[in-house]
Amino acid sequence: MSTASKPSAPTRASSLTQPVNGQKADRVFRGIATACGILILVALAAVALFLLFRAWPLIGGDQQANSAVIENFTGGKAKNFWGYVGPLLFGTVLVAAIALVLAFFVSIGIALFISHYAPKRLAAVLSYIVDILAAIPSVIYGLWGGLVLVPAIYPFWNWVAEYLGWIPLFAGPAANPPRTVATVALVLAIMILPIITSIARDIFLQTPKLLEEAALGLGATKWEMIRLSVLPFGKSGVISASMLGLGRALGETMAVLMILSPGLTYSFRLLQASQDQTIAANIAAQYPEADSIGVSVLIGTGLVLFVITFLVNLLARRITEKAGK
């Protein structure tokens, strides 16, 4: 209160001296604010339009030239745009989905630990650490993944391939060095962990104390209390947090670019190299060598990625909104 009352004193004086000016400023200010609000709409529309405009040669241009470029990109593996973007989209979704599965339970665990298990002071410190981890640049995760994790994790994947190899997902032999979808998904999981955790933690902390105490008062154990009151309360929040994490994983570029040995197939073999590639990493990888039609093709794939992430995020918001009502 005290901070606000001070500035209001001179305000009154000046507004009394120039009342007409103030009205005009009022309108201008309102106009600017409205314009900024609308600018958000314009910006999003501009993203779609500019991308569409640059990708236009791909859709409306000389199809023969396009297919030559795509053949050139892929070494003859794909001849048209959908044949090109299909495997990329598959790879993108595959990597992001596995990352989400890996991150989901761990982040819920951490969120519960912070919100319900850790002592208060420790919880505050942990919250802070989680927030900081969300801020570590992806290029550093890529650097770490490519140089530290890849050589270190081979024995583990080898073990997985040996003992779980009967599951088609883990069909061996594990690639060495493991620059594979499995390793990339692991790094992405680490990257989206803080995002899901911090949202889930906030939701869990909002669980009405009455619900929790009612459960405990009925003799529930702590876990039963969580299962009966906290988890149902936080369900929609957790789902939307996961969707946000998924959105982030779908669009992640650097970590994938720096770790994955890319391929262009519809393959579920997570432990083998040169199987899949993601849209975002593919753009960054092909971009330097692409000519103008090549850039159009890449922007076309970017447009597909934009649409996908747009839908995922929209869905996430819808879920939270519904739960909020």
């Binding site: 050139n72 070494g75 050589p151 060495n176 060095p177 040995s261 190299a273 040169s274 990888a285 000519d291």
Partner: protein, 371 residues
């Protein structure tokens, strides 16, 4: 409030100005490097673009060239061969670096930028391509593995899958080859290095290498990695890997000695030079003044190493602008001359142009019209 805002804006501006002043510093210039007095008259900014394989060599050349031509500001954008040629054909650059010679269509297009004449290409950078591997107990002991062309093709083809394969053991009786799977590492991006290796395999391995020539890796064997450095780092990270890279990047790694004639040749700049010297000019290419090499991959010259990357510079025989023409002649003359080639060999381990080829190159460069 308003004056406050103005003050803040001023402070921000000052900050930006400070950054701008700081911009000039930070360059790693040698304070003792004073411009020589007998400096040539070539001055101005000149740009080139193209093959990334040449990048290190070009950096060394620029440093060497500027010692005698301190007023010339030269830049090279390693944007890739394809992009480099496209940029050259728009007239934005003086020359282009490319891992493959111009095709007929591009020669025709070059009339637009070369004042009616057609562009020519000369080899400037010959780098031996090493077949590098990582095999504990062998590569780290500085041993080489002997392979003939068929074996190399079969390894890269996925037909030989283990290091103790009979074909390998027979050629390397002195080595104790482990029972370990072979992981092939190849380029995942388009590359002149890939193309040159494939040319070698196609020419020498016959039916064991059934793929068409391409700048993309043709099969699904092994792992892809982006760029030469990607290949090297991937090989570094695991035991049992094999791949290919320019010799300049292969320092400290195990390299394959390739069978030439009856013996196995270890990779070296001189050995690559010998193979190039045993090659002929491709006379079928359209256009004048062009020096396009037809590498003799099947060479049997003792001590020759036949897997080489030949990178060309593409320039015009006639430029619209006299200054540019003089620069082009002097620059290409320098890099293809003795001191330029030595400089590149020193910096990257490239093979110097053999004399029999260099004479053609000189003739082409001299043919640039300088008024």
């Amino acid at each position: 409030m308003r004056s406050n805002l103005a003050r803040r804006a001023l402070a921000a501006l000052c900050g930006v100005a400070l950054i701008a002043v700081a911009a000039a510093c930070g360059d790693n210039t040698d304070p003792s490097d004073r411009p020589v007095s007998n400096a040539s008259s070539i001055s101005g900014g000149f740009a080139g673009a193209g093959a990334s394989s040449q990048q290190t060599a070009v950096e060394a050349w620029i440093a060497g060239y500027q010692k005698t031509n301190p007023k010339a500001k030269i830049s090279y954008n390693p944007s890739g061969s394809g992009a480099g040629v496209v940029t050259f054909l728009t007239g934005a650059t003086v020359w282009a670096g490319s891992d493959k010679p111009l095709d007929a269509k591009q020669v025709e297009e070059s009339k637009q930028v070369c004042a009616g004449s057609t562009a020519f290409d000369v080899p400037v950078y010959i780098s031996p391509i090493a077949i590098v591997f990582n095999l504990r107990g062998i590569s780290d002991e500085d041993h080489h593995i002997n392979m003939d062309a068929t074996t190399i093709a079969k390894v890269f083809n996925g037909k030989i899958t283990r290091w103790n394969d009979a074909a390998l053991a027979k050629q390397n009786p002195d080595l104790d080859l482990p029972d370990l799977p072979i992981t092939v590492v190849h380029r995942s991006d388009k590359s002149g290095t890939t193309l040159n290796l494939l040319e070698y395999l196609k020419a020498t391995a016959g039916k064991d290498w059934p793929y068409a020539l391409s700048e993309n890796w043709p099969n699904d064997v092994g792992q892809g990695a982006k760029g030469t450095s990607g290949v090297i780092s991937t090989i570094d990270q695991a035991d049992g890997t094999i791949g290919y890279a320019d010799l300049s990047q292969a320092g400290g790694m195990g390299t394959v000695a390739v069978k030439v004639g009856d013996s196995y040749t270890e990779i070296s700049a001189d050995a690559a030079s010998k193979a190039v010297a045993d090659s002929t000019l491709d006379e079928t290419v359209p256009g004048a003044n062009r020096v396009v090499l037809d590498i003799n991959h099947k060479t049997t010259v003792e001590g020759a190493y036949p897997i080489v990357l030949v990178s060309y510079d593409i320039a015009c025989p006639v430029y619209k602008d006299a200054d540019t023409a003089r620069f082009a002649q002097s620059w290409l003359g320098y890099i293809t001359g003795k001191s330029g080639q030595d400089q590149a060999e020193h910096a990257t381990g490239s093979a110097p142009l053999p004399d029999n080829i260099a004479q053609y190159v000189r003739a082409s460069v001299d043919a640039i019209e300088v008024k």
